[in-house]
Symmetry: C2
Subunit: 231 residues, 2 copies
């Protein structure tokens, strides 16, 4: 594990606040709440069986993630995530994943390199066997390794944030073996570029990898099925 554990993993799951935070984020991202809908502390608290305190703390975090807007002494209103937001995130991620790959080329450790190789090798196996669940897991892990390997706390933080943000959408996009297989092949190319100490190539490949992931998502129509808003 990297020295910088992303927030969700360290302070969550075992606290009420963390559970509330994740539940609300999931609900907002999955479209349970209407845009501009008001979230009331007591209502959420009762629904989840907790008091207002953890709910309030979760609200503060959601606000910082841009998922809700808190107007002092008034209320909390969901901001939601639109199709355009997702598109924008993928373009931004494309740039940052490229930078990450570039920096990883310079800073990756022997251990990280070995885990990447193992990851790609294993993924190839699961792709052939049609193991979607494992494939998705390995895909996540590949990116996490690269985030850690880039040796930049700031960049790692940003990318993990975005990754979380689009996780639900992304999960569905990998739900086809063909994309999963293609994705893993792209991972392999990025890995080779890093091995060859070719930062330009690594950056470009990582750029393309994100764009491909997005375009596949749009093409496959899985994304539209997920979001049902009118734009």
């Amino acid at each position: 594990m990297g020295s910088y554990d992303v927030k969700q993993e360290v302070s969550d799951k075992y606290s009420l606040r963390g559970r509330v935070f994740h539940k609300l984020r999931e609900d907002i991202l999955s479209g349970k709440y209407e845009e501009h809908e008001e979230l009331k502390e007591v209502a959420i608290g009762e629904e989840l069986g907790v008091s207002r305190t953890p709910v309030r703390e979760a609200f503060r975090q959601l606000e910082l993630e841009g998922l809700i807007q808190i107007i002092p002494n008034k209320g909390a209103y969901v901001t939601g995530i639109t199709e355009n937001d997702v598109k924008d995130i993928y373009v931004i991620r494309s740039l940052l994943e490229g930078l990450c790959a570039r920096w990883a080329t310079e800073h990756i450790t022997k251990e990280q390199m070995e885990e990447m190789e193992e990851n790609v090798y294993l993924a190839k196996f699961h792709a052939e066997k049609g193991h979607l669940e494992q494939l998705a897991e390995l895909d996540n892990r590949f990116h996490d390794i690269m985030y850690e390997a880039c040796h930049s706390k700031m960049l790692e933080h940003q990318l993990k944030d975005f990754h979380q943000y689009v996780l639900r959408v992304r999960k569905k996009t990998l739900a086809t073996i063909s994309r999963g297989s293609a994705s893993n092949h792209e991972h392999e190319l990025i890995l080779d570029a890093i091995k060859d100490k070719n930062p330009d190539m690594a950056e470009k490949l990582a750029n393309d990898h994100m764009i491909n992931a997005y375009q596949n998502m749009v093409k496959s129509g899985l994304y539209e099925a997920y979001h049902t808003e009118k734009e």
Copy 2:
């Protein structure tokens, strides 16, 4: 104002939580606390004359910003910001400001364009007069306009976050008239590229603008004077 007011402006200044949040962020960024130093809720509360509740909520926000790390049932520890972090932020910002300029070229409104022109014109005046304070203010505003003009909630959010993050450092870098003047000239070039509907040029100029800002900061030695950590 844009449709998406950044969090700090909406829910702060008038709440204890907001004040605590800003105070702690300022203290952490300015190096008041040692790295890995523990922040205790009651101590902070007493120091600022508030109860634990607003302190806790501020902690949750600081954690999400990556400035502190909260270990459940243990404590909150400052993460701080190193020279490397600042360098990374500027590189990341360089990419994102470039993307922002590109998108602004496509989406800027007539009103935003006019405000940009006015901004550059005014800044030229204040640069000649040596008005540092106004120059810094206009510089901030120029970037804010561009963030709004790019018409991407996500990108605007990210860039405003980073902007806040390095604000203290940046303020000092503009504290020389020569850089302020050069910076404004670069703004003018970006503005011209946007006016000419030349996204490639706008992107490249915005990239360079950030890199220049960072290099000037390093060269001038203002940054080293600010941070006193051993790396």
